[in-house]
């Protein structure tokens, strides 16, 4: 499998504050890679470093073999980025936003009209094209932003917390969009602080906390490493968690210890995260 993103020892400091503390990972071509971590973990900062929005303190980042520091323009051509906040120009219509994006990539009239048509059909955005940005709901704005970022046919698409702030329905719809894009061949790097999102969508997940990657694998492997089956039981008003490689081991444990009211269930990514960091995602700030 070829690597489309190679990050090595990436460090980003803001003054004394270390936002990203020496992370290294690679993303394979065609995969849907998830970057999971609590607020303030350094996800956005990593995306900003890779997308050349901010300068890198140290380390190297290659996107499709192009060094983002040495050849910014070359690197920018092969990626598309959707920022955490909506970043459309609110004085323009959706269509004008798309056209200006296409223009920034040097696309001529024919190409951009064809691409805008193709993508808005794909995302069901036609009826919103000539509306002002603020007349759209959050989920539709996000889609418009995705269209903007996809116009120049990037090989990699970065989505920074695409579903934060969306309601449950809009979130599910957006998941489908992301899956569909990935299936049509675009490599996707998605950051999120929703564990179920990472588990539902991603081929591989990197867990980041305090600017460091603490685990990286496919969700199944991460769960297996912790133990496929979880047993929860209350001891003195505090829940204890135990993990076992198989259902039989778990049941034996329950029987041996006489834990009649314990819950036996499948381990999920949240358990993995808690095991690794000793705290719950979303528990802070």
């Amino acid at each position: 499998m070829s690597e489309i993103i190679e990050i090595k020892d990436l460090v980003k400091r803001y003054g004394d504050k270390v936002a990203v503390n020496g992370i290294s990972f690679t993303v394979h071509e065609g995969e849907l890679f998830g970057f999971l971590g609590p607020n303030g973990a350094g996800k956005t900062t990593t995306v900003r470093c890779v997308s050349t929005l901010t300068n890198i303190t140290s380390g190297t980042v290659l996107v499709d073999g192009v060094d983002v520091v040495k050849d910014q323009i070359g690197a920018k051509r092969c990626m598309g980025v959707i920022q955490q906040q909506v970043s459309l120009d609110k004085d323009l219509t959706i269509r004008e936003n798309m056209i200006s994006h296409a223009m920034y990539h040097g696309m001529g009239k024919q190409e951009r009209n064809a691409r805008i048509k193709e993508l808005t059909d794909y995302f069901g955005l036609e009826e919103y094209l000539d509306k002002p940005v603020d007349s759209l709901s959050g989920g539709w704005k996000k889609r418009a932003a995705i269209v903007c970022a996809m116009l120049h046919q990037p090989k990699v698409l970065f989505l920074d917390e695409p579903t934060s702030g969306l309601d449950i329905n809009a979130r599910r719809l957006l998941w489908d969009v992301v899956k569909k894009l990935n299936q049509s061949g675009t490599t996707i790097v998605l950051t999120t602080h929703y564990i179920e999102e990472a588990q539902a969508l991603c081929d591989r997940v990197g867990i980041i906390d305090h600017g460091k990657i603490i685990a990286l694998d496919d969700p199944k492997a991460l769960i297996e490493r912790t133990g496929k089956i979880a047993v929860e039981n209350m001891v003195d008003g505090k829940t204890e968690y135990h993990y076992f490689p198989s259902m039989k081991d778990a049941q034996d444990f329950v029987a041996d210890n006489g834990l009649d009211d314990a819950t036996v269930r499948k381990t999920n990514l949240e358990d993995v995260f808690v095991e690794l960091t000793g705290k719950s995602v979303g528990d802070q700030k």
């Binding site: 929005l53 323009i73 323009l92 936003n97 200006s100 040097g106 001529g108 024919q110």
Partner: protein, 262 residues
């Protein structure tokens, strides 16, 4: 940078194309708000003309032309500063701090020089709109004023320089508040003092020296002399100062963008 092909389509990545592509969204913005903008652009110069040109009724100046003929080039240079600076800086400030659409642009494969120049176009167009309307009015109201190619060049140059200054201010601004402060501490004093309503040479030398450090003094000197060539000698060195000032502002903007100190 040359034109490349992607999927059979040509991509236009030449420098001038890039400047146009950066400016396009601002031109759309102008188009959406055209009448509003037009009224805002000519309102204050018109008020200045009525208040200072006619209200004060100072008659003839010591260079032998009517005060109206004297003050109109001053108002032109004033609007080249205030219109160009304000429209560029306000729009860029909003795009950068509130819409975040400036970030989107910086993530695209554009040269930083093209971004600085492209983002100056809105102010250039608006400034020129105000200046040339005033000029047309002036040619009609004050027979002493002359239409010269040099005056046209000076107006365009002046609008471009102050529009780039607007880009610089917006790149440096941490908030809307800091823009307002910059406006009232630097832009507003300049508009009144830099030879717009009175001749700088009538002041005492120390004050003159201070005013000659400000770019608008040079702009107004150039524009007035170019409009009244029969009585004033063109200050070529002021033109040089203005050009150099513009180049310095451009280079600082480009540096800020390149090093992402924004």
């Amino acid at each position: 940078m040359t034109e490349t092909n992607v999927n059979g389509y040509r991509r236009y990545n030449g420098f001038l194309h890039q400047v146009y592509h950066v400016a396009w969204s601002d031109m759309m913005f102008l188009k959406h708000n055209f009448w509003n903008t037009l009224v805002m652009t000519i309102m204050s110069p018109l008020l200045y003309l009525i208040a200072f040109g006619y209200g004060l009724r100072t008659g003839t100046t010591d260079i032998g032309v009517s005060y109206v003929a004297f003050v109109i080039p001053g108002i032109m240079s004033l609007s080249s500063l205030s219109s160009s600076f304000a429209s560029t800086s306000t729009r860029l400030n909003v795009q950068r701090l509130y819409y975040k659409s400036f970030d989107e642009m910086v993530m695209c494969p554009l040269s930083m020089s093209a971004i600085v120049l492209g983002k100056s176009m809105l102010g250039l167009v608006r400034g020129m709109l105000g200046c040339f309307l005033m000029y047309a009015l002036g040619l009609f109201l004050a027979p002493d004023l002359q239409l010269t190619p040099l005056a046209v060049i000076c107006v365009i140059l002046s609008c471009m320089v102050f529009s780039m200054l607007g880009v610089l201010a917006a790149l440096l601004a941490k908030s809307h508040q800091s823009m307002a402060t910059f406006n009232s501490l630097i832009i507003l004093p300049m508009t009144f003092l830099c030879g717009t309503f009175f001749s700088v040479s009538s002041l005492d030398p120390i004050f003159q020296a201070v005013l000659y450090c400000l770019p608008l003094t040079h702009a107004s000197g150039c524009i007035r002399a170019a409009c009244l060539p029969q009585v004033l000698e063109f200050p070529w060195w002021s033109l040089v100062v203005l050009v150099v000032f513009g180049i310095i502002v451009f280079l600082i903007c480009r540096h800020l963008l390149k090093t992402r100190k924004i």
